[in-house]
Every structure is written in structure tokens, then in C-alpha cells.
């Protein structure tokens, strides 16, 4: 079945257009869904894009987590009927809703940070076998609240279930284990559980060599499980 990608637009989303463009450039049929819908139309793949939903007021993603469409998303996930990707603010929304474990808190610097980073696949998600352990992507981050945190009691489960998908690695490609652009626990950049994946970096911004990297093409293709073009 050809994938049908739906990008959810919350009030204050601002990477929605970039994300639509990125998927369209991969040849995927892509539409925008409004946050106040109560269904997902016939989407096979749902993307929660980056941005500042509701201004990121209160906490990043907290208010969008209650949008009407989120119930439809929860239902579709439990039916196994959908694949979900949360990018940046989308990742924050998924955590706030409890769809992914943990929470994204203010960067330890207390500052927004926009920079190119290297991330590496730590645990390949069962659902997306194309991501192989040790695979590296050069992707930008742009966030103020990207420090991944999780309660003590849930940490073991996170490892045990193979949810630790992506981590930041040193810009020189050396795995020193010390490099950490935002103070995430274990330098975590992305989590995946079942059909849901969330990450802070922006693959949709890395689609062309002249923008700094085209690793985002490979990343999104693997998520779509389509042959990259």
C-alpha cells in the first residue's frame, strides 16, 4: 500500500510546511490535518511536526497534547493502524500525552540552541528495520526544551524494551559518550516504542546538500520504509 502521510498542524506549529515539502519530495502523498479534527482521514503515517504549539506556553507540547485529534491518534495506535513520527515539538507532544515515555525539559544551558549535530542509532526499532545499529545521521536541532528526562523507576524499562533509539554523538564522530548538546539523559535524541517514534532533531531540514546535509532524506525514507530516491 502506498503510504499516505498526514502532518498534523496545531496552532503554533511552524515546521508543518517544511515537513509536508520534505515528504512530498520523497514522492509520498502528503496532506495537512487540523488539530481539531476527530479522525485521521485515511492516513497510514502521521507526523507531528516541529514548532511552538500554543506558544510552548505552560510546557512545550503540553497544551497540544489535549487537542481533539490526539484522541484519534491514541485510538489508531492502539488498533495498530498507524505509524507515528514526532519531530521536535511533535516529540514533546507525544511525551506530554504519555504516548512515549519520559519528558522533554529545558536545555541545561537554559538557552535555545540551533546547531548541526550527529546522531547515531542505538537500538534499531523493530518496526523500522531499515535503521541499523550504529547508523549515523547529520541533522540540525533547534529547540529550547530538548533535554530528555525520565523518572528513575522507568529507566530500566526504557533500556529493556529497546526504546532508546537515537543518541547524540560527538561532532568528530568520536563516541566519547560525553558530548551532549542539551543535557539529555544518556544523550538521548530520540525514542521509539511500537509504531511510534519521536526525536528532537529535524530530518525535514536536511533534505538537500546545499542546506547542509541530505541525511534527512535517508532518515525519512527509512521511516516510510520506501526506497530512498
Amino acid at each position: 500500500m502506498k503510504p499516505k502521510v498526514a502532518v498534523i498542524r496545531f496552532p503554533g506549529s511552524n515546521c508543518d510546511r517544511d515537513t509536508v515539502q520534505a515528504f512530498q519530495s520523497l514522492g509520498a502523498e502528503t496532506t495537512i490535518l487540523a488539530y481539531d479534527r476527530e479522525d485521521l482521514e485515511d492516513a497510514t503515517h502521521v507526523v507531528l511536526p516541529g514548532g511552538f504549539s500554543y506558544g510552548d506556553y505552560l510546557r512545550a507540547g503540553a497544551l497540544a497534547a489535549h487537542a481533539p485529534i490526539m484522541q484519534a491518534l491514541v485510538d489508531a495506535i492502539s488498533r495498530g493502524a498507524i505509524e507515528v513520527l514526532g519531530i521536535c515539538n511533535g516529540f514533546q507532544i507525544l511525551c506530554e500525552r504519555g504516548i512515549l515515555p519520559g519528558a522533554l525539559f529545558a536545555n541545561v544551558s537554559g538557552q535555545f540552541r540551533c546547531s548541526w549535530e550527529w546522531v547515531e542509532v542505538l537500538t534499531p526499532p523493530a518496526r523500522w528495520p531499515g535503521f541499523r545499529r550504529g547508523m549515523r545521521f547529520r541533522l540540525p536541532i533547534a529547540h529550547a526544551d530538548g533535554a530528555y528526562r525520565i523518572g528513575h523507576s522507568d529507566r530500566e524499562a526504557l533500556w529493556a524494551q529497546g526504546s532508546v533509539f537515537l543518541r547524540y554523538v560527538d561532532p568528530d564522530g568520536q563516541e566519547t559518550g560525553e558530548y551532549n548538546p542539551n543535557g539529555s539523559w544518556e544523550a538521548i535524541a530520540g525514542i521509539s516504542e511500537g509504531p511510534v517514534m519521536g526525536l528532537m532533531p529535524h530530518p525535514e531540514r536536511a533534505m538537500q546538500p546545499w542546506l547542509g546535509s541530505k541525511d534527512g532524506r535517508l532518515f525519512l525514507s527509512l521511516w516510510l520504509q520506501e526506497v530512498p530516491q
Binding site: G12, C15, Q111, F112, R113, C114, R205, Q208, W210, G212
Partner: protein, 741 residues
């Protein structure tokens, strides 16, 4: 209410009475006070600004509207303007800067253009609370720009003593729109149409912000005059931007005007004048955030995130529907009339009845100087102990490193890393370059953007500083082979009632005029900020110039660094007798002398030649940079540090005037790295175009920068990459990275 309570002079009050033919009521006095303030009326600058060239075949809209518009190609147009938010940023740096960003974005949106880029030009003091102010301002700009989703693709920051109590926050916004027959702006309103207010509910925010705060000098006892600070709300700003653009898209919008300084009175009266219509507004219908707001407060409020729309009858309904899609309401607050009168009602009661043109154009303007020629260049006594006087030859390695690590020169990563520079996925070159390069959806061409305005250069000779700012901007665009389409100028100065400030202002504008003419670029809009003066101490006149260029190959910018060492380093159009006037070096040594006059016709020549040379497929020119602050030296350092680790450089200079040669900041010079095999051809080309050139060095494959002075070399000095990087990134040593980048 007395006229002087609203900031009017006795003479102005008399003029008001004359226009009205009666004694205005309190509300009316208030309206005049706001619109005849310096900030809104441009009374001290209008006649001077008229000197600037504003025409060109590419100009769609010049000064007068919310932003200038130039044509990129047959389909796409570019709207751009610089705006200052200096006074509010001093009072409250985070919100002051944030609301400045919001304001300039709304100006672009009001032209029917989608904002695609921001640039910021900042000035702070080095001592005292400079760092606190800078951190707040950067947080504010990032906080707003990042959230609304417009990338900040570049900017600049400089330091100087006068900015300590008068920080400058100038922001440039660039937007694009499709060429349409009907240009949206404030001029399309027709009688019978309805007037709507869109966005945030009106509160008592910023009442008198423009009329009193920004139109007077600061002094210690201004505390209680401070209005309720406006707070930026990028979330509502985003919805407002999208809703306005969507409404315009429907064809239902006849006129649009953003609410900024002096809020509703300014927006509505300007719209009335531009459309040559009358207006009838019902103040009690304005949605308010606070209870019991008076008509006066409603008219003067500077609550952010509001737009005034006039809808036409044919598609107005569609426009309203588009607006509600974005979760906002448009509230009808009045209608357009044929009477030409500007009438305000509160309930049934008529509370003001004027002509809008009295408010907008009635204020008596200060005459401009008649002297329309450049003031003579006054060579200054050389700086005490300067190389020009004593040290005729040789060089001082310590001084060079002090330049590389100077707060005016060092790397800006700690600042620009706090800005999202990549959103909208069009940023090919962002803030780590001196010229930004963007692709434009819907055009094979892209944009080159640059901003520059060094107050130090205008400190002694404002004419020279104005001309230099334009020269640097056009030079930077030229390094990309881009055609400069238009300029916007943010003019910052002290109290215009002081003769020396007025004179410097006029000379600064003359410098801008002469450079813009010589380089054949129109000035399509800008901003004036006077009264950057606290307790009698004023800033250096500071001309912030922004430039927009048509880039013919935006996905392949002309490099500003090297990945191969087989190059020869050229200084193109070198200074004839290099001067340290106005340089960082002088500021470090506590003396400022006059900045050199840019040789405008030589520069125009060089720019034309570069335009073809850099796009030459033979790629004779492997990398090029415009010389500005820090001189040739800083250009070399930046080119080298950005180059691949396998590239080293050896710079060779004559012993005579070696230091001025390295450190002169005369604009219009270019550092170019040319493939060594092609150097002869390039030199011939330059010669036949009568463009001066010096061979200043060679690339090599050692990972160091070497300076050799004298032929044969009498002094040499070598720096490793890590040494140089440590100097240029000297903010890294500061605690928590919050030093002085």
C-alpha cells in the same frame, strides 16, 4: 489636557488650533500629540530622508508604505525593511526586543508578503550592564523569531561606550510575495467598506511608548512615565500572520495596516490618508483586555499582535472565513466613508472629528540643511603613538591577536546559536557567513542578504560612516555576484534638537545617498530612531544598512573559505594609503580619528567586475570576502579558520605600513583567493579594468597561518589553527559561554 502634556510645543499647538479652527478636546489633543511625536511624524528627518535615491526599474514600492518592495523576477517580489526598538529594549530587554521583531514582521505581512528571514543589528556598551542587556535582547529576538517560525539568518553586534545606556536593537525582516496587479497595502480602502480589528485584545500596554518614550531623551527621573510594558506573544503573532496572509489570499482584503507605534490612531489615520478616504470608528466596539478603558487609552494602546483590515464587499466574507480558520476573530469597528473626515465615536457620542491628514501630514517639519554636498574630508592628526606616526614598518603580533579577539571582531556563535536560522528550509548560508544566501520558492533565483552599520566609522565623520555602511553591504552582496536590488536604512542618532546631532544626521544621510547613487541601489524604506541619548550622553550616529540582492545560483554560493591550498591571495581594490581611522585598533587605543572616505567610483567598478568574475565557471576565484571591521587581517583570519584543516596561508607584506595595510577598515577592499594557475589571467583582467590589486600571500598545505613582513622577509610570525581559534573564539573562556561574543 494641555498641549505640552502630550508632548506638543507651543508652536505645534498653535498649528493644531489653526488646522481645526477650534480648540480640540482632550482626546484630540492626545491624537495630535502621538502622531506629531518625532517617532511617528518624522518631523526632524523627513526633509533629510527626501535626499535618498529611491527609484529603479526593479522598485515596486518605495518608502512611504510599511516596507519597500522590489522585484526579484517576473513572478516574485521581495518586501523588506529595518525597524528599531531601542528604547523599549533598554527598559525591558527581553520584551523590548521581542516586540521589535513582532513589529517588523507585521510590517512585512501588511505588504502581503510572507516573512522568510530576519537579521538583527545590535549595539551595547562593553561595561556595566551591557552583558545583561545583550543576553536579554538575544533571548527576546530568539524567543519571538524562533516561535513564529521566521529564521534569523544573520546579523551583527558591535560595542561602544555610548551604547551602554542607549543599546540599539535594529531588526531587518524580509518577505516574499507573488507579483499581483493589485498591491495590498494601506491604500486600497474605498467608501462603504468595513474596518476590522484583528488579533490580540487591546490593553493599556505601551500607552505613550512612541510619543513620549521614544521621542525624548532618557533621564533618571523618567521612571514613572514608563508605560505598561508591551509583552510579545509570538503564538498570537503566528496566528495573526497566517490569518492575515490567508485573508489577503482570498482577494477580500482592500487595505491592511499593522498596529505599531501609537496603535490604532496611527494605523487608522495612516490608512485613511493613504487611501484618501474618511473613516468612522466606534471605540466601544474595540475588544479590550482590561475593564473601563477610555477612548483615549484605546486609541493610544500599543498592544502588540493586532492588524487593521478593510474588507471589500465582493470577497470579504471569504476573508473572514479564512481568518476564523486560524482561530482568530475579526471585529468590525467602523467603516470607510467618502467624507474625508476622521470621526471617532464612543457609543452614540462623537468624541473626535478631524481630518486624518492633519494627524498624518500636518506636523510642521524641521527644515533640512541646504548643504547638499559632501563635507570636506578633514584629515585628523594621527592617533598618538599610532603606526602612521611612529612605526613606519614592522608589525606587532600581540596587537593582531588583540584584534582577532576583540569584542567587535570575535565569533558570534554564542549569539546566533540561540536563533533558529534554518526553519523554512531555505537557508543555504546562515549567520556563520557575512552574507546570507537563501533560496526562494517559486524562483530559480535566490536572495543574498547583508546588514552593516558600524557606529565607530561614523563617530567622527558621519558622512564617511554612512557611505561606508552602504559600501560594505553592497560589497558583501557583490562577493556572491548578486545584483543589489534595494537598501533599507535604520538611522540611529541622539537628540535632533542639538545642532551637532542634526548636522551629523544630515551628513550620515548624505553619505548614504552618495554611496547608494554611486553604486546604483535605491533606498526603498527604513527607520529613524532619534533620542538615543541618556543623561546627555548620545550614541555615535549609527547607520544600519540592510541590503537585498538577486542571487543567480543560490544553491551554490561563491565560497568564502577554501578546501584546497593551491591559491594566491589578492587584495582587490586596496586602500591607496591605508588609514586606521575609525578602526578597532584605534578604539582599543582610546582614540578615534576620521574613517577614510570610500572611493565610491572605484568600488562601483570593482563590484561590476566581481559580478561576472565570481560567477565565472572557470572558478578563478575560489573564495572571496569583503574587508570591513578588523580590516584585511580579520578577513584573512576568518577565511582561514573557515577553511579545511589542510589549508594554510602565508601572508607577505611590504614592511612599510604593514600594520595599517592589515588593519585599515576602509570599505570596498576585497580579499580574494584565486587559483594559482589562473592568477596571471586574473591580474590582467583587473589591470584592463583599471582595478587596483595587491598580491598578499599564498595558500600552502601546512596547518598554520604565517605572516612575513618585508621583502626579503624581516619579520615572520606563525600561528597554529588552535591558537588562532582560541583568540577568535575567546568567548569560550567566559563562564557559561555568556561572556561577550
Amino acid at each position: 489636557m494641555t498641549p505640552d502634556a502630550v508632548g506638543l510645543t507651543a508652536k505645534e499647538a498653535e498649528r493644531v488650533r489653526q488646522l481645526c479652527g477650534r480648540e480640540p478636546n482632550d482626546l484630540e489633543w492626545g491624537l495630535f500629540g502621538a502622531l506629531w511625536s518625532e517617532h511617528c511624524s518624522y518631523k526632524s528627518s523627513k526633509r533629510v530622508l527626501a535626499w535618498l535615491p529611491k527609484e529603479g526599474p526593479q522598485v515596486v514600492a518605495g518608502p512611504g508604505g510599511n516596507a519597500g518592495v522590489v522585484r526579484l523576477d517576473d513572478r516574485m517580489e521581495v518586501a523588506f525593511k529595518v525597524e528599531s526598538h531601542n528604547h523599549p529594549s533598554y527598559v525591558e530587554p527581553v520584551q523590548g526586543a521581542a516586540t521589535g521583531v513582532g513589529g517588523i514582521i507585521r510590517d512585512i505581512v501588511a505588504m502581503g508578503a510572507r516573512p522568510i528571514a530576519l537579521m538583527d543589528s545590535l549595539r551595547f556598551g562593553l561595561e556595566g550592564n551591557g552583558q545583561r542587556l545583550r543576553d536579554g535582547v538575544v533571548a527576546g529576538i530568539g524567543g519571538y523569531g524562533n516561535a513564529i517560525g521566521v529564521p534569523t539568518v544573520g546579523g551583527e553586534v558591535y560595542y561602544g561606550p555610548g551604547y551602554a545606556k542607549n543599546p540599539l536593537v535594529n531588526v531587518l525582516c524580509v518577505g516574499v510575495r507573488q507579483s499581483k496587479d493589485a498591491i495590498v497595502g494601506a491604500s486600497g480602502a474605498r467608501p462603504g467598506q468595513m474596518v476590522y480589528l484583528l488579533g490580540q485584545a487591546t490593553g493599556r500596554d505601551g500607552i505613550h511608548g512612541a510619543s513620549l518614550l521614544a521621542s525624548r531623551d532618557f533621564s533618571a527621573d523618567d521612571q514613572d512615565m514608563r508605560p505598561t510594558v508591551q509583552v510579545g506573544d509570538p503564538y498570537t503573532g503566528k496566528l495573526l500572520m497566517e490569518a492575515t496572509l490567508a485573508a489577503i489570499e482570498t482577494g477580500g482584503v482592500a487595505a491592511v495596516q499593522d498596529l505599531g507605534a501609537a496603535g490604532l490612531v496611527s494605523a487608522s489615520s495612516e490608512l485613511a490618508v493613504q487611501s484618501q478616504v474618511g473613516l468612522e470608528l466606534h471605540l466601544d466596539q474595540v475588544p479590550c483586555r482590561e475593564s473601563a478603558m477610555s477612548g483615549y487609552e484605546i486609541m493610544m494602546s500599543e498592544t502588540q499582535e493586532r492588524m487593521l483590515l478593510v474588507l471589500n464587499s465582493a470577497h470579504g466574507g471569504e476573508a473572514l472565513a479564512a481568518i476564523s480558520q486560524w482561530g482568530l476573530n475579526a471585529t468590525p469597528i467602523g467603516r470607510v466613508t467618502a467624507s474625508g473626515r476622521y470621526v471617532l465615536y464612543f457609543g452614540e457620542r462623537e468624541v473626535a472629528n478631524l481630518e486624518a491628514s492633519w494627524l498624518v501630514d500636518g506636523c510642521p517639519l524641521t527644515p533640512a540643511g541646504k548643504d547638499l554636498v559632501a563635507p570636506a574630508f578633514k584629515p585628523m592628526r594621527p592617533s598618538p603613538g599610532s603606526m602612521e606616526e611612529g612605526v613606519e614598518e614592522g608589525f606587532d603580533a600581540g596587537a593582531l591577536m588583540a584584534i582577532a579577539s576583540d569584542p567587535d571582531c570575535r565569533e558570534r556563535r554564542p549569539i546566533f546559536q540561540r536563533y533558529d536560522s534554518m526553519i523554512q528550509t531555505a537557508t543555504v548560508w546562515g549567520p556563520d557567513h557575512e552574507v546570507s544566501v537563501l533560496t526562494v520558492d517559486g524562483s530559480p533565483w535566490g536572495l543574498a542578504l547583508a546588514v552593516s552599520g558600524i557606529g565607530r566609522w561614523a563617530a567622527v565623520d558621519a558622512y564617511a560612516g554612512g557611505a561606508a555602511a552602504v559600501s560594505v553591504v553592497v560589497s558583501r552582496l557583490a562577493t556572491q555576484g548578486a545584483v543589489a536590488l534595494g537598501l533599507t536604512d535604520g538611522l540611529n542618532a541622539g537628540n535632533p534638537d542639538k545642532p551637532e546631532v542634526k548636522q551629523a544626521f544630515e551628513q550620515m544621510v548624505l553619505g548614504i545617498r552618495d554611496a547608494a547613487r554611486a553604486l546604483d541601489v535605491p533606498v526603498t524604506g527604513g527607520n529613524v530612531s532619534f533620542h538615543n541619548e541618556t543623561d546627555g550622553a548620545a550614541i555615535w550616529p549609527t547607520p544600519v544598512i540592510g541590503g537585498v540582492g538577486r542571487h543567480f545560483h543560490p544553491t551554490a554560493p561563491v565560497a568564502d573559505s577554501l578546501n584546497r591550498p593551491d591559491v594566491t591571495l589578492l587584495l582587490i581594490n586596496p586602500a591607496l594609503s591605508p588609514s586606521l581611522g575609525g578602526s578597532v585598533w584605534e578604539r582599543q587605543h582610546g582614540v578615534l580619528t576620521a574613517y577614510p572616505r570610500v572611493r565610491l567610483s572605484d568600488l562601483a567598478h570593482t563590484v561590476t567586475w566581481l559580478g561576472t568574475a565570481v560567477s565565472d565557471v572557470d572558478a578563478d576565484i575560489r573564495a572571496v570576502r569583503a574587508v570591513a571591521d578588523g580590516g584585511l587581517w580579520l578577513a584573512l583570519v576568518k577565511m582561514w579558520l573557515a577553511s579545511a584543516p589542510s589549508v594554510g596561508m602565508t601572508v607577505t607584506l611590504e614592511a612599510v605600513h604593514a600594520m595599517p595595510r592589515l588593519l585599515s577598515e576602509e570599505a570596498g577592499q576585497f580579499l580574494a583567493a584565486v587559483a594559482t594557475t589562473r592568477v596571471e589571467a586574473t591580474l590582467l583582467q583587473l589591470q584592463s579594468n583599471a582595478i587596483g590589486c595587491l598580491v598578499v600571500g599564498q595558500g600552502h598545505d601546512g596547518d598554520y597561518l604565517e605572516l612575513q613582513v618585508g621583502r626579503p622577509s624581516r619579520w615572520t610570525r606563525r600561528w597554529s589553527r588552535s591558537q588562532m581559534r582560541a583568540a577568535w573564539q575567546s568567548w569560550e573562556g567566559d563562564s557559561g559561554g555568556s561572556g561577550t561574543p
